[in-house]
């Protein structure tokens, strides 16, 4: 059960069952049933119990985990056949970490993010998000296709989540101003989404997510639909915003270069069924900028991960060919 920001449950009923607020195991159900209980959580509540790190996740956490994904599987039913999208995925994100998830298409990257967001129920396994600031949402998602409300101005899109939570107008406006300033859209507060370029719309999507001040920020290929130059600019902006706010970010991308530029660690998912293939620490230092691309360490890491990813991509392509109908019966 998810304990939401407003004490309401987030996500669908089934999805809701799946996520839990980190807590002492014996208290779980009662806490979940009475959200106001969440106020009692503090960081040190985490201490005594701990999910064993997944076998493949060899990184010993130096900080407390903010997000725990334990043995999560997702199975889709399509036309009587069941397709395994995620197969016992385990990983964790530490507080303030920028965790990137890469993998070939169909590896379930987006599905994993949707499970974290409570938009899709997992078939089995556990997702836990530690609540540090009760009253704020567990997650806020930046969607790939921005998914703004076309009938709301930029400002009203940014305040939408706050409105739903009953935040007072003055505070909403202040938060919107702050976040629009952060993404550089102050002058466009009164514009409608259709009046903005793709990059600007995505900035609004980011401002909307930031304004709701989630425990964890989820980003589903937010820059995928932008042109190369805009994407580069936005990557730098993301780095700046992340280092300003110190949010925990789970970031899905198909671009290894992007993951290397942004991430603290990179989770590589395998071709369907999506499994955690390996988790790579990105030890390229912080603060990081585009110049990191010129460093030898960057090139070496890119090469290492790519050789692995390439293998998975080829596997994914082969699997795709295999499922194609055999029209000619050759």
């Amino acid at each position: 059960m998810i304990v939401g920001p407003d004490g309401a449950r987030q996500g669908g009923e089934r999805a809701a069952k799946a996520r839990r607020v980190l807590d002492e195991p014996r208290l779980q159900s009662s806490v979940a049933a009475r959200p106001d209980h969440a106020v009692e959580h503090r960081r040190d509540d985490i201490g005594p119990w701990f999910w064993p790190p997944a076998a493949k996740d060899i990184i010993v956490p130096t900080r407390e985990p903010k997000v725990l994904v334990h043995e999560v599987s997702v199975t889709f039913e399509s036309r009587g056949r069941s397709v395994v999208a995620l197969d016992r995925v385990s990983l964790q994100a530490h507080a303030g970490e920028f965790l990137c998830i890469v993998g070939p298409s169909g590896s379930g990257k987006s599905t994993l993010l949707r499970v974290l967001a409570g938009l899709h129920p997992q078939s089995s396994g556990d997702v836990r998000i530690r609540v540090d600031r009760p009253g704020t949402p567990l997650t806020a998602m930046v969607f790939q296709e921005h998914a703004l409300l076309p009938w709301r101005t930029v400002r009203d899109n940014v305040t939408f989540g706050l409105e739903n939570r009953g935040v007072a107008r003055a505070e909403r406006e202040a938060r919107a101003r702050e976040m629009l300033g952060m993404v550089g859209l102050t002058r466009f507060a009164a514009h409608y989404p259709h009046q903005l370029s793709g990059g600007m719309k995505q900035r609004v999507g980011i401002a909307r997510a930031l304004a709701s001040d989630p425990e964890v920020l989820l980003m589903d290929e937010p820059l995928a639909s932008l042109d190369a130059q805009t994407r580069t600019i936005m990557q730098e902006e993301l780095l700046r915003i992340w280092s300003t706010l110190g949010k925990t970010v789970v970031y899905v991308t198909h671009s290894l270069e992007e993951a290397l530029l942004l991430g603290d660690r990179i989770v590589l998912l395998s071709a369907r069924p999506g499994r955690v293939s390996r988790i790579y620490p990105v030890e390229l230092g912080r603060p990081r900028g585009l110049e990191v691309r010129a460093s030898p360490a960057y090139g070496a890491l890119l090469e290492t991960i790519w050789s692995e990813l390439r293998h998975e991509v080829v596997r994914a392509m082969a699997a795709d060919r295999g499922t194609e109908p055999d029209w000619l019966g050759s």
């Binding site: 987030q10 949402p137 009938w151 709301r152």
Partner: protein, 259 residues
């Protein structure tokens, strides 16, 4: 060319073409190319229109017709939007009503007049209800479609950001359907006018349709054309008015806001 001068160009043509047509008509009637008994000169028609306006005949009939459109359109709009929203939101309702609508909708509306007369007292109420039927179906259909065409990704995002129940409806589903609702209203209003005139021809002694028909019966062809003109103008004004209202109320719809 700048937008402004291009717009001017378009408007210029929009005015010039009917003027040219009327001038051609005037000339053809004056020279006897068209028989003036059936196609009187536009200037003569204009004079008769003036007479009808001065002696109050026109206003009386116009007021009657407007009153009928007002009632029937309001009825159709309220019921159509309500039931259309219901059909858009609840699959069951849609599945149940769709076949019934599919059968009733194509029936020419005037044919409902006798049926309606059995159900409600004949006369004014029957007229108004008959007029409302087709508009109602149009508005309900378009509204239901408007709800269903909303991008599911937008709805999902709205839910993710905490919109539930009434909030989801009022802040997401209703505004999402509004452009279509307006299209439905515009179509419905147009059909109200068509049907009310038809019904007035068949079953009324007052109203623009009745005036037109009576003028024809007694071969006051100029009056007939004058009424014809008034009905056409009425249709144009109602449709244009609703389009203006839409542009004012829905500033986020790109093709309206950018023009």
């Amino acid at each position: 060319m700048t937008t402004r001068s291009r717009r001017l160009g378009e408007h210029w043509l929009a005015i010039a073409s009917p003027v040219a047509l009327i001038a051609l008509w005037e000339w053809a009637s004056a020279t006897g190319l068209l028989r003036a008994v059936f196609f009187p000169r536009p200037s003569t028609i204009a004079a008769h229109l003036g007479d009808l306006a001065v002696d109050g005949t026109l206003w009386r009939h116009l007021a009657t017709t407007l009153m009928r459109i007002g009632w029937s359109f309001s009825m159709a709009a309220v019921l159509g939007v309500a039931i259309g929203l219901g059909m858009g939101l609840w699959r069951r309702l849609r599945d149940g009503l769709d076949p019934i609508f599919a059968v009733i909708y194509p029936i020419p509306s005037v044919l409902f007049l006798p049926l309606v007369s059995f159900l409600v007292p004949a006369g004014e109420i029957a007229l108004v209800v008959t007029t409302a039927v087709t508009s109602f179906f149009l508005i309900a259909f378009t509204t239901a479609h408007g709800v269903r065409q909303i991008d599911p990704r937008v709805v999902e995002a709205a839910r993710h950001y905490g919109a539930r129940g009434w909030r989801l409806f009022a802040a997401v589903l209703l505004p999402g359907a509004l452009p279509f609702i307006f299209t439905g209203l515009r179509l419905g209003l147009g059909f109200s006018l068509i049907v009310v005139v038809a019904v007035e021809i068949v079953a009324a002694s007052r109203g623009l349709g009745a005036l037109l028909w009576m003028s024809w019966q007694v071969l006051k062809v100029e009056d007939m054309y004058a009424t014809f003109f008034v009905i056409a103008m009425l249709g144009a004004i109602l449709s244009y008015g609703l389009a203006m209202l839409r542009a004012r109320l829905l500033p986020w719809v790109p093709d309206v806001a950018d023009r």
